[in-house]
């Protein structure tokens, strides 16, 4: 049984294209419509089988949709959800793939009438340094976590459909409060991006030849798209700021132990970190 007759993907980049490709390949949707601004990118998405048809007009693209997945940058998700809700059939369910969730809840508050499609937030923890629909992968969500973030008002049937959809794409699903999601991801995703960028930012280019695997690993994500990440930081400003403060305090603890000649303190500081990292596995 194919759960979704017509799937519309708004924003057909790597994530959106992979949603379409995985949905087609895994039998999660019969037909995929792509909505985007860049005709050449949409044509490439169609060429690799990620979408069946495409349009640059969102209201046309969602007109017959059963499920809409909004995969635009986090500062555009709210507006795109509202536009999709205005044009999609009332039975449709709308979700997204954004890295922040609380900002969307705030932006949509009181703006989705009961006779319009329901919105359920999603965040697939999957991605790649590569950009664009041409790099779409049918296995991008395989065994990845998707966090689904209903609020107290969200229709439970819509939540189940969205969860089933991601599971069909190969993902594991957990349900979380959107604001709790943002506090956690500030630490597990946004802070690491900031720290990686901070490390790269203080490294004189002349010393890049003196780096090894540790530096490479630590700073890899600093190659991410600055505009996308600035939008994520701003959409989750309070939690990111709190995470930055917690991190800075932690680093100050190392500095303090080091300058005090407190070897046991430095070892303890490193051991606490090792225990957390070892618990994650390689």
């Amino acid at each position: 049984m194919i759960p979704v007759e017509t799937l519309t993907v708004v924003g057909v980049g790597l994530i959106g294209g992979s949603v379409g490709l995985a949905a087609k390949t895994r039998g999660a949707a019969r037909r995929v419509v792509g909505v985007g601004r860049d005709e050449r990118n949409l044509a490439r998405a169609a060429a690799v089988g990620a979408i069946d048809t495409f349009t640059s007009d969102l209201s046309v693209g969602v007109a017959t949709a059963d499920l809409v997945v909004v995969c635009t940058p986090v500062d555009r998700v709210g507006a795109d959800v509202l536009a999709a809700a205005a044009a999609a059939p009332p039975r449709a369910v709308i979700t997204d793939a954004g890295s922040t969730k609380g900002n969307i809840v705030r932006e949509l508050a009181g703006k989705l009438p009961a006779d319009r499609p329901t919105f359920v937030g999603s965040h697939p923890l999957a991605g790649s340094e590569k950009k664009g629909a041409a790099h779409s992968r049918a296995d991008l969500f395989d065994d990845r976590l998707v966090i689904v973030t209903p609020t107290a008002e969200t229709d439970l049937e819509a939540v189940s459909l969205v969860e089933l959809f991601w599971q069909k794409l190969g993902a594991r699903v957990v349900r979380m409060d959107p604001f709790e999601h943002d506090r956690a991801l500030a630490v597990t995703s946004h802070l690491p991006h900031a720290a990686a960028s901070g490390l790269a930012g203080v490294t004189p280019p002349a010393w890049l030849g003196l780096t090894a695997g540790g530096f490479r690993d630590c700073t890899r994500i600093a190659s991410g798209d600055p505009q996308l990440w600035a939008a994520i930081f701003e959409a989750n400003r309070d939690a990111v700021t709190a995470a930055l403060d917690k991190f800075t305090d932690r680093m100050a603890g190392l500095r303090q132990a080091l300058t005090a000649g407190d070897t046991a303190g430095v070892i303890q500081w490193l051991t606490e970190a090792k225990q957390v990292r070892d618990a994650l596995g390689s």
Copy 2:
């Protein structure tokens, strides 16, 4: 032509074992003697072909050495070099594999008479999360950088022998002042380790399930040995403290732009980091 007749490796862990194995495999030494405290580990090193014979007595182990490579933790290198210099033939050359170099120069200052073996500092930028001689790899130094750190007093013939030895093991060699080495590596190696550990240290274990590839990459090196890394931080305390301060200032710049709602500033901050990281390649 085999440049070294008898090579003695003091401290036969992953690095020391790989020095021995690579030297034998690449024809850089005819005979390898291992010196260590742990008989079982030394027996394993011999079993995998990393060393030919072994002893727990350093002065016995270096008695006929042409080249001694000290691969003990950075807080023990100085003492081991002095012990080796006292017992090795005067023609011998001593080098090491430590991550810090200035502390060794300070520890040896005025303590190596002209009629005793010469010391030349080395730092191979190679390693692994794995520990112990059993994981020795003949290709560990292949195309890796080895930084050789002579001072104004170092015998140039000894420098050439050490450089030739590392090249025979497959490494690229650069020569640097030991204190300049320490300032650079504080930023390119020691600071990333501290930041990775800081990230792991502020992550509640309950949220580890909400991490993805970025967190994994960023924090991988936090699994390193706390005692070894505490010794590195302390051996290079001034440069590490300066690097921590530079990093903290940089992170404060992000926080400031973020809380001021300065989107252009956040994008600029991220773009500067991306440019550095992109220059390194994947």
